[in-house]
C-alpha cells in the first residue's frame, strides 16, 4: 500500500482489529457521552469512571472507520489510571500532534505555533501520520472530543 503506511501503521491496524476496553459501564457511577461525526457517520461512545480525580475505569463503544475506532481504543488504553490533569495534557498533546491549535482569526498565518506540552505519547504517536490526511483528523479526534464531553457530563 504505497503511500498509506503513514496512516495505517501496524499498531493502528492492531487497535482496529483488537479494540481495547470495548464495552459499557454502568451510569452512574460512570459518566458517558456519544460522539458522532455527521459527515462520515463515525460513532464513538465513551464511558469513564472517575474517582478522586483519577480515571479508574474506561469502556468504548461505537462503530466507524479504522482511524476513529483505533484512535478511541488507543485513547482508552492511554487514559486508564491517569489523573484528570494528566489526561488533559495528553489530549492537548494529541490534538497538537494533529496540528489542531485553537488559532484565532487575529493570529497571522506565519505565526509561531504554540509549544505542545512535553508528554510521553506512547502508542498514540502512531497517529501522527493522520496530519497528512486532513479529512481523517476528525476521525482521529472524535474519541478525544467525546471523552471531554463525557467528563463534563
Amino acid at each position: 500500500m504505497a503511500g498509506l503506511e503513514d496512516l495505517y501503521k501496524e499498531i493502528v491496524i492492531d487497535h482496529y482489529r483488537s479494540p481495547r476496553n470495548r464495552g459499557e459501564l454502568e451510569t452512574p457511577p460512570a459518566q458517558h457521552a456519544e460522539g458522532l461525526n455527521p459527515l462520515c457517520g463515525d460513532e464513538v461512545h465513551v464511558y469513564v469512571q472517575v474517582e478522586d480525580e483519577v480515571i479508574t475505569e474506561v469502556a468504548i463503544g461505537g462503530q466507524g472507520c479504522s482511524i476513529s475506532q483505533a484512535s478511541a481504543s488507543m485513547m482508552s488504553a492511554a487514559i486508564k489510571g491517569k489523573s484528570l490533569a494528566e489526561v488533559r495534557e495528553l489530549s492537548t498533546a494529541v490534538k497538537s500532534m494533529m496540528s489542531i491549535h485553537e488559532q484565532s482569526l487575529e493570529d497571522d498565518d506565519s505565526g509561531v505555533l504554540p509549544e505542545p506540552p512535553e508528554v510521553e505519547l506512547g502508542d498514540l504517536e502512531a497517529l501522527k501520520g493522520v496530519v497528512k490526511y486532513p479529512v481523517r483528523i476528525k476521525c482521529a479526534t472524535l474519541g478525544w472530543n467525546t471523552l471531554a464531553e463525557a467528563l463534563q457530563s
Binding site: 500500500m1 491496524i13 457517520g41 479504522s66
Partner: protein, 416 residues
C-alpha cells in the same frame, strides 16, 4: 459496444472537453467516480461563464444600457434552453434557485404553507435525500402535517403494495426520480397517476434524473420538479424549480426583495409576473448562463446516447466487479441495468467505507464514503455508511477496471 447500431458516446472525445482530465491530479491519473456528488465541467461551460464576465457582465432586467441588456438576454436565453431540455411548454415555468435544495424548500415553504393544514398528509419515500425530507420535517413541526413514507421492496425498488393506503387523503407526493444511493429509477409516471387519481399533487426530486436521462415533462406527468445545475456539467450556485404555471401563479412568494415585486410601498407589496416572482435579488446570472451552456453541451451529445452509454457502463460495472470479487462485494440497488442509473453503493468485505475511499484515493480512484445525505435509507439498509461510485459521460471501462483492481489493496490492508 453500442447495441442495435444506436450511437453511444465517444468517451475519448468527451474527456478531451473536460480540462480536469488533462493532467494528473495529486500526482495520479484521475478516475472520477463521484458525479452523483457533483459532475466535472466541460471547457464549453467554463468558457461561457468567462465570456459572460468579460463581454456582458452587468446586473439584469433593470438597465437600459447595452451591457445590462446583454446580460438579461444571455440569462433569459439560458432559461429557454433549460425549458426545452426538460420539455417544459413555457420558459416562465422555469425558476432559477441556488440549488435543488432551495427548490425543494420553496415547494414546502411556499406551496406547503399556503395549502397544508394540521393533519394533512404528505407522502415521501424512505430512499429520499435529506433535501426532500428535512423541509417537510420543518413544515411538520410548524404545521402539524403528517408525513408518510413509501418503503423499500425487492431488489432496491420502492414497495408500492400499500400505495393506495398511503395516498388516501394525501395532498402531495414528493419523491426522487432516481435514488442517489441505490441508483433505482422510480416509476414516476405510475406514482404520479395514482397520486392524481387520489387528488394529490406530485413533486419529483430529479437531481439524479435530469443529468442522466432524456427528460420529457409530458411523459412524467408531475406538477413540480427540482434539480441542480452542478450535477449536469453546470456550475455550482444554480438549481431549478419547474412547476406548472397555474400552481406557481397561485403560490405566495418565497423570498422577498428586488426583482420579485410589481410595487412596494411602506404598507405592502405586490408580486411580479413569473418567473421573477420567485427570483428575489440578483440571480446567479453567470451560473445560469453556464447552465445554459451545459444544456447545450448535453444536447450536443444527445441524452438518448448519454443514457445508452450509462446503461452499458452499468452492465460492465456490475459484471466486472462480480467476476473479480464475487461475494466479497455487495452492490446495493436494482440488478437490472435498465431499471437503474450508474450509481453504485457497495460494501467490500468488512472494510469500512471511509477506509475504502481512502485506499482507492491512493490509486487516483475518487469514490464517496458516507451516508450520502440519506440517513433514513442507511438505517433501512442496516449500515452506517456505504462507499459509492457513480458514472457519467466521461467515464469509461478503464475507470471501472481501475476501481475493481484497487479494491485488492483494501483487502490486503484490512481484511481479518
Amino acid at each position: 459496444m453500442s447495441d442495435a447500431g444506436q450511437p453511444t458516446l465517444d468517451t475519448a472525445a468527451v474527456r478531451a472537453d473536460f480540462p480536469i482530465f488533462d493532467g494528473p491530479v495529486n500526482g495520479r491519473e484521475l478516475v472520477y467516480l463521484d458525479s452523483s456528488g457533483t459532475s466535472q465541467k466541460p471547457r464549453q461551460v467554463l468558457d461561457s461563464m468567462h465570456a459572460f464576465y468579460v463581454e456582458a457582465n452587468a446586473n439584469v432586467h433593470r438597465g437600459a444600457y447595452y451591457l445590462s441588456d446583454q446580460a438579461s438576454r444571455r440569462m433569459e436565453g439560458a432559461r429557454t434552453k433549460v425549458a426545452r431540455f426538460i420539455g417544459a411548454t413555457e420558459a416562465e415555468e422555469v425558476i432559477f434557485t441556488k440549488n435543488a435544495t432551495e427548490a425543494l424548500n420553496l415547494i414546502a415553504a411556499s406551496w406547503g404553507r399556503a395549502n397544508l393544514q394540521a393533519g394533512d398528509a404528505v407522502v415521501l419515500t424512505v430512499i429520499e435525500h435529506h433535501a426532500n425530507i428535512v423541509p417537510w420535517h420543518m413544515l411538520a413541526a410548524e404545521r402539524g402535517i403528517e408525513l408518510r413514507f413509501i418503503g423499500i421492496g425487492e431488489d432496491g425498488h420502492l414497495d408500492l403494495s400499500n400505495l393506495d393506503t398511503l395516498l388516501d387523503g394525501a395532498k402531495l407526493v414528493s419523491f426522487t426520480a432516481m435514488s442517489n444511493v441505490l441508483g433505482t429509477l422510480t416509476p414516476v409516471a405510475r406514482i404520479a397517476e395514482a397520486a392524481h387519481a387520489a387528488g394529490a399533487l406530485v413533486a419529483i426530486d430529479a437531481c439524479q434524473y435530469v443529468p442522466h436521462l432524456p427528460t420529457r415533462l409530458a411523459d412524467l406527468g408531475v406538477d413540480f420538479m427540482a434539480f441542480s445545475g452542478h450535477k449536469m456539467c453546470g456550475p455550482t450556485g444554480v438549481g431549478v424549480l419547474w412547476a406548472r404555471r397555474e400552481i406557481l401563479e397561485a403560490m405566495p412568494p418565497f423570498l422577498g426583495g428586488g426583482g420579485m415585486i410589481a410595487n412596494v410601498t411602506l404598507d405592502g407589496f405586490t408580486t411580479a409576473e413569473l418567473p421573477h416572482k420567485f427570483e428575489a435579488g440578483t440571480p446567479p446570472i453567470a451560473e445560469i448562463v453556464g447552465l445554459g451552456a451545459a444544456v447545450d453541451y448535453l444536447d450536443g451529445l444527445g441524452m438518448e446516447a448519454v443514457r445508452r452509454h450509462e446503461v452499458e457502463l452499468t452492465s460492465y460495472f456490475l459484471r466486472t466487479i462480480k467476476e473479480r470479487h464475487g461475494d466479497d462485494v455487495t452492490v446495493h440497488g436494482p440488478s437490472e441495468p435498465s431499471e437503474r442509473g450508474g450509481v453504485f453503493s457497495f460494501e467490500y468485505k468488512d472494510v469500512h467505507p471511509h477506509d475504502l475511499s481512502q485506499v482507492l484515493d491512493e490509486h487516483g480512484v475518487n469514490v464517496r464514503a458516507g451516508h450520502h445525505c440519506a440517513k433514513p435509507l442507511m438505517k433501512e439498509l442496516g449500515v452506517g455508511a456505504t462507499a459509492r461510485a457513480s458514472l457519467y459521460i466521461y467515464n469509461n471501462e478503464s475507470d471501472v477496471d481501475r476501481l475493481v483492481e484497487a479494491l485488492d489493496d483494501a483487502s490486503d490492508l484490512f481484511s481479518f
